[in-house]
């Protein structure tokens, strides 16, 4: 296994710059998850690491060796594709051994390594089947098996679970986590799924428009997002944002009144700021005072144990608060919402976190 170090990587398709100045270090044996909105360049970054896309600038090194000029097969990587990309005309064993066969490995060794991977992934009874005779989940396991057989230094996954149904996705996610531990593998993993990102990652990398917005431990991103984009992207439902301006002793929210909180030093009075708070840190509470804002209930979504209340504040801003247990709230109710002062995030006019 090996670490991956990416420095000042850029990539353009013609005039379109898809990756800009990407700096990323993937430590040996760590699980890094790339997330970001569709089209932000996650797949392109992964394919650049694999060597499937020539890069425009910057360097990529795997295990201390610069791989910019190397073909994918020489980089010590294995990739698992979203569509599985199994060879339809070969059976499972041939699919898994194909790369080794081309590398000129002896037959006995190929067979042994295929057997080993099949054992790990419980694919033994399926070795003689063709891909079309497999279910989606089985195909996914074969694709992972094909990666394992190559004994790569780095595994690259591009949205491997997005074609599976919900139940299978949970199983396979757990499976991947188990494999990561067992193989002590270095993994770079692209996903759209927040739960996958939060549960699997040692480090999450949030990308937007070809740039890295923030990278860090899942909970760090959750509790201390570096900017508005990350704050809005991580967490579901998304963080609530209230626009206001810095005043002495707090943040003025116009018609919603004043939220008193210590401003970080250097915040100019009158500066435009955005207050962020997650739905789970807002409570529906009657009464006044403290960090309470009057609100009208727009809609109540009940999921069972928890639920979400869509609120309209006095200023017209909308917010979502999480509720637990049974409440009698219904659309049109006038109520108050209390904000947990310890969980408030403050962002400056440029979108960056203050304090």
């Amino acid at each position: 296994m090996a670490e991956v170090v990416i420095g000042k990587l850029s990539k353009s398709f013609g005039a379109v710059e898809v990756l800009k100045d990407i700096d990323l270090a993937v430590e040996d044996g760590s699980f890094v998850v790339l997330v970001g909105p569709s089209g932000c360049g996650k797949s392109t970054l992964l394919r650049s690491i694999a060597g499937l896309e020539p890069v425009t600038g910057g360097s990529i090194s795997i295990g201390g060796r610069e791989v910019n000029g190397l073909a994918p097969a020489q980089r010590g990587i294995a990739m698992v594709f979203q569509s599985y990309a199994l060879y339809p005309h070969m059976d499972v064993a041939a699919n898994m051994g194909f790369g080794l066969k081309f590398a000129g490995a002896p037959k006995a060794e190929i067979a042994a390594r295929v057997q080993e991977a099949a054992r790990i992934l419980q694919l033994e009874p399926l070795l003689k089947r063709r891909p079309r005779e497999l279910s989606g989940g089985q195909r996914q396991r074969v694709a992972i098996g094909r990666a394992i057989v190559r004994k790569p230094q780095v595994f690259l996954f591009d949205e491997p679970l997005s074609n599976l149904d919900a139940a299978l996705r949970v199983n396979t996610r757990v499976e991947i986590a188990r494999l990561h531990k067992m193989l002590a593998a270095t993994i770079v993993y692209v996903t759209h799924d927040q739960v996958e990102a939060m549960t699997l990652a040692d480090k999450i990398v949030v990308m937007n428009h070809g740039r890295i917005e923030q990278q860090g431990k899942p909970l760090d991103l959750y509790y201390r997002p570096a900017n508005l984009f990350v704050a809005g992207f991580i967490g579901s439902p998304a963080m609530n944002f209230l626009k206001g301006e810095a005043v002495a002793g707090g943040v003025g929210l116009g018609a919603d009144g004043l939220i008193s909180l210590p401003l970080p030093p250097g915040t100019a009075p009158g500066a435009h700021v955005t207050l962020g708070i997650r739905p789970e840190h807002m409570r529906i509470a009657a009464g006044e005072g403290g960090l309470r804002l009057p609100a009208t209930v727009d809609l109540v979504e009940r999921l069972g144990e928890t639920g979400f209340v869509h609120l309209r504040l006095a200023s017209g801003a909308v917010a979502i608060a999480e509720i637990r247990g049974e409440t009698g709230l219904k659309t049109g109710d006038r109520t108050h919402v209390a904000l947990d002062p310890a969980r408030l995030h403050l962002f400056g006019a440029d979108g960056r976190r203050l304090g």
Binding site: A50, P72, F81, P88, F102
Partner: protein, 305 residues
């Protein structure tokens, strides 16, 4: 749905197709086969001849000579298409699907263009090009100092059939190209990416991944070529006339049938023998298609992605 309404609906949707198909395909076919069992007397009456016409066609030297000659020529015609047209079509399709190719649509259109032209036009144009008197082929070869290679290819017995076959290849190479190209496009890019990660270069990925996946299409192209070649008539007729000269060296089943059935110059039309030839053509094509279906198609399965 009540049964009556169902039958009416069936009749409404299937009726026209069945009618047209019966009238213009099934009836002529059966009539031809039936016709081949009768012989026509000099007084114009028909007489049941059983397999007599076939006996004459295959064993009587005046009939069997032209028949075996036409069949041999037809086989050569087909083999040239199989070994030249289809490999070139495959190669062109592979080139067309290269990711970094420019002017793709232009090439595709240009190569496909001759297919859409009338065979008569093609035949005439090539006759002009290859003419020893004013054809540009000679000038073209002279220009490269290769003038000594020129010969009146269409007029020489040993080369006429090959020349006509190659002209037909030139005209129709667009069809295997388009069919195979379409099949190549259907192969997902990720599959080739996977092969690249597995260490295959572009050529190897073609040989080991793409080619196996387009075998069914190549099989289809082959059987289409076979059927078309054994039904061919128009290009030979347009270029060499019904006599398929020189000295019947370009005579194929279609032209032999035409001369026999309708008559030509000194030869009187003989519908009975013509029908026998047409029936033989049907049998040959049937055997070819059966062999393909039972021996080849079973082995090349369709793969789903």
């Amino acid at each position: 749905m009540p049964q009556g309404a169902y039958l009416r609906l069936l009749l409404f949707f299937l009726g026209p197709a069945v009618l047209v198909y019966t009238l213009f395909s099934i009836y002529p076919l059966l009539a031809t086969i039936l016709n081949s069992f009768y012989s026509r007397q000099s007084d114009g009456s028909h007489l049941w001849a059983g397999l007599g016409n076939f006996h004459t066609l295959l064993l009587d030297p005046t009939w069997s000579g032209p028949f075996w000659n036409a069949l041999k020529n037809n086989v050569i015609f087909f083999l040239i298409h199989m070994s030249v047209q289809n490999p070139i079509g495959l190669l062109l399709a592979a080139l067309l699907s290269l990711p970094r190719l420019r002017f793709r649509a232009t090439y595709r259109t240009l190569i496909f263009m001759p297919t859409m032209l009338s065979v008569v036009v093609i035949g005439f144009v090539w006759q002009l090009i290859l003419s020893p008197l004013w054809g540009i082929a000679r000038m073209f070869l002279n220009f490269f100092g290769l003038g000594f290679l020129f010969a009146p290819w269409l007029g020489v017995e040993s080369s006429a059939l090959i020349t006509v076959s190659l002209i037909s290849v030139w005209q129709f190479v667009g069809i295997p190209m388009i069919l195979i190209y379409t099949a190549l496009l259907a192969i997902p890019d990720e599959l080739i990416d996977a092969a690249t990660v597995d260490g295959l270069n572009q050529f190897q990925a073609f040989m080991w991944v793409k080619l196996p996946l387009i075998w069914p299409t190549i099989g289809l192209v082959s059987i289409l070529t076979f059927v078309n070649n054994f039904n061919a008539f128009d290009l030979i007729y347009a270029m060499k006339g019904a006599l398929a000269g020189p000295n019947f060296s370009t005579d194929i089943m279609g032209t032999l049938f035409y001369r026999t059935f309708f008559g030509n110059q000194l030869q009187l039309g003989n519908p009975a023998m013509g029908s026998a030839i047409a029936t033989m053509m049907l049998i040959i094509i049937l055997i070819g298609v059966m062999a393909y279906l039972f021996l080849v198609q079973r082995r090349i399965q369709r793969y789903s992605f």
